[in-house]
Amino acid sequence: MTKSTDDRVPASGRRDFLKSAAAGAATGAAALVGGTTAARAQQAETVAQVAEAAESAAIAVPAPTEAQLAREEGDVRPPPVTRAAMAPGSDLMVDVLRDLGVEYVASNPGSSFEGLQESIINHGNPPNRMPEFITALHEMSAVDMAHGYAKATGKPMVALIHGVIGLTNGTMGIYQAYYDRAPVVLLVGRDNTFIQTHTADDIGGLVRSFTKWDAHPLTLEESFSAIQEAYHRAMTPPCAPTLVVLDTEVQKEEAPGMTAPPAPGFSVAGIDADQAREIARGLLAAENPRINVGRLRTPEGVAQAVELAELVGACTSSRAGTGPNSFPNRHPLCGPGAVGEEYDYVLGLEAPGAQTALLGPHIRTIDDRDPTNIGLGGNRMMGRGFVPITPPPGENNIDVDAEASLPAIIEEVRREITAGRSREIEQRSARHAEVNRAATVARVAAAAGAKRAGWNGSPIATARVYAELWPLIEDEDWCLSSGSRFSGAHHADLWALNKPYSFLGSSGAGGIGYGLGASVGAGLAAKERGRFVINIQNDGDINYCPGALWTATHHKLPVLSIMHNNRAWHQELMFVEYMAGVRGRGTDRGHIGTTLRNPHINYAKMAEAYGMASEGPIEDPNELVAAYRRGIETVKGGEPYLIDVITQPR
């Protein structure tokens, strides 16, 4: 029986704990033999710590055995129970993932999923493809990679995590993916026979408040269906991380004659035919229709939104400057349009609309998954996420996924449209294109004028960091992976954002540490798709999980990281400075705890230490373009590159 979160009672007693009770820390330590004196001392300390932890918990938790400790300490001899596997169940788990189209599994190794890991790297022809094992150096990086990948592709990859301790490390990444509505599948290994402090009866409970669904299947068959369901639930709006706990025994179970079940069909409900017909008629009857486009789920949804706008000749709005999967911001129909602001029919696609707004379910609808009653702030405050809580007057909101509704609307438009109306729409679209183009040029020119400020200054103005990139990338296939709020968001003013993945948006919950991992995930998406990634990397952010630099290097990912190195957690510097002013003291001490000085961090050398080509720090703005050229040439050749740039604060 699969134990999903629909039944909250954790499984207990299903697996026997180790029979061998601890003989005591001292006994355990004394029994250890071999190795250096230092190693023996370290082992003894480990035993003492585990025993102390068990004692303090006042429960009968057995201490690890000598063999377990030896294995944990790096004795790689196979455990004595190892036997040749003829048809391990974890091979079939890999088949399930492959059938779902999972390209990558990001993970740093843990002793609760060696069965599945071994299958990923050895099962299949060729092995280690679909999915490929991506080596992360921290669980948060692994989840951030899956987060960035999901936004770049519109579909999940997997983060494979070790028990309680790995999941705890990954928690921040999961929290951010949840609020960013990113479909991420988390597979968590659970070894109930090994070190007890690494496991729990209900591991999923650790993150239940900010995952969408979790399950703990107890058999191999249930594991297959749980993985499939986790994938589909993650992709079903509201998109969010899902989690499956996989017991180590289930992974290692023999499955002779068994085959992986094919993935069941998957669809998202859209509006019904009557509603679609009403919207289609509204759009076709209007003399000046408009379509407001928010963030759709996948690139396919964006293509359909473009198709609909072109069919009915509607001018559109776009959120491409704030995140992925919105309307291309230089499309001829994107802008105010020719007829003026008086729109006589406005359709909203995950955005407000005067007549009709199609608004898919928000994560608020699943906030009953807060068993710890911590009262998640985002769910309390966000309302409908990026949509105003109070709809505009006269709005006819339909709680349905916009992307899933588009095919029906398009079908109705095609059915209802007449040849005469098509000609009128064609003429209107041409007028829209002309006016929108002029409006875009005027807007960009105004922005460019403002970006002149500090153009030749040093440290380098953030506007120049973005501006100098554009002429070098405008004819390339690229993806801006990092959040840009802290570095000025100049891309939104200066760049064309015409692809669903042109800009992947921010972290979701405003947490720091997301940028590098998410960029590596975007790099995974870019690698096989002939594009490269631009990561305007905040210095405060990179220091959370810099090991992702190594992942990018090791896996040869086309990620160009350009440091926004203002040598501070700059926002907090301003906050502390303000507070010192309020309290009337020490405004010359706000740098304490907020700045990254004395010594300055050399990010080019940091990248070099992880094996990545790099240069900098660059303080002269006139050196930017040449450095960018070297960086772009490198990433187009399939290797990552980092440029350290000393910048103005914002």
């Binding site: 875009t440 960009v444 004028g449 002149r452 400020a453 002429p471 002013g581 309290r583 604060p649 914002r650």
Partner: protein, 145 residues
């Protein structure tokens, strides 16, 4: 020390003075500089003015010397520094910290003012920046999905 009057009447009067200076700033001549700009540069850094205004006053919340009543002379500058936030609610705002006498003396404020007065609009004319012109030209190009 610049004496900050207290009481509702004084509050209103100060607000009017600063407001008037702001409105008239574009026409009024800038005041005398008595402070040390080099010392002010260090204070600008130590008190994290750069955090919001950039290292040269050009980026972030740019400092506009022309037209700013607060930067008209040393007195308006010091009054502006002192009358911020909850402690001195004439100009309550979370946009800029308060700098009381205990944090920044009048003499230091004058040094700071002297440094701020060195700021200049160094932005090149738009036509002299090929990159930005290329970006504008790019915006006029046909849509390419």
């Amino acid at each position: 020390m610049i004496r900050i009057p207290t009481g509702p009447g004084a509050t209103l009067a100060l607000a009017m003075i600063i407001g008037f200076a702001g409105m008239a700033g574009a026409q009024m001549p800038m005041g005398e500089i008595t402070g040390d700009a080099e010392a002010g540069k260090q204070l600008y850094y130590d008190h994290a003015c750069y955090a919001c205004h950039g290292y040269t006053g050009e980026t972030g919340h740019q400092m506009k010397l022309i037209g700013s009543g607060f930067l008209l002379n040393e007195q308006t500058f010091i009054i502006y520094l002192r009358l911020r936030t909850e402690l001195n609610p004439i100009l309550p705002s979370e946009a800029m910290p308060n700098y009381p006498e205990e944090s920044l003396s009048d003499e230091e404020a004058k040094d700071l003012y002297a440094y701020v007065r060195t700021f200049a609009d160094n932005a090149p004319p738009l036509q002299d920046i090929p990159t930005l012109n290329a970006i504008i030209e790019s915006a006029a190009e046909p849509y390419s999905p």
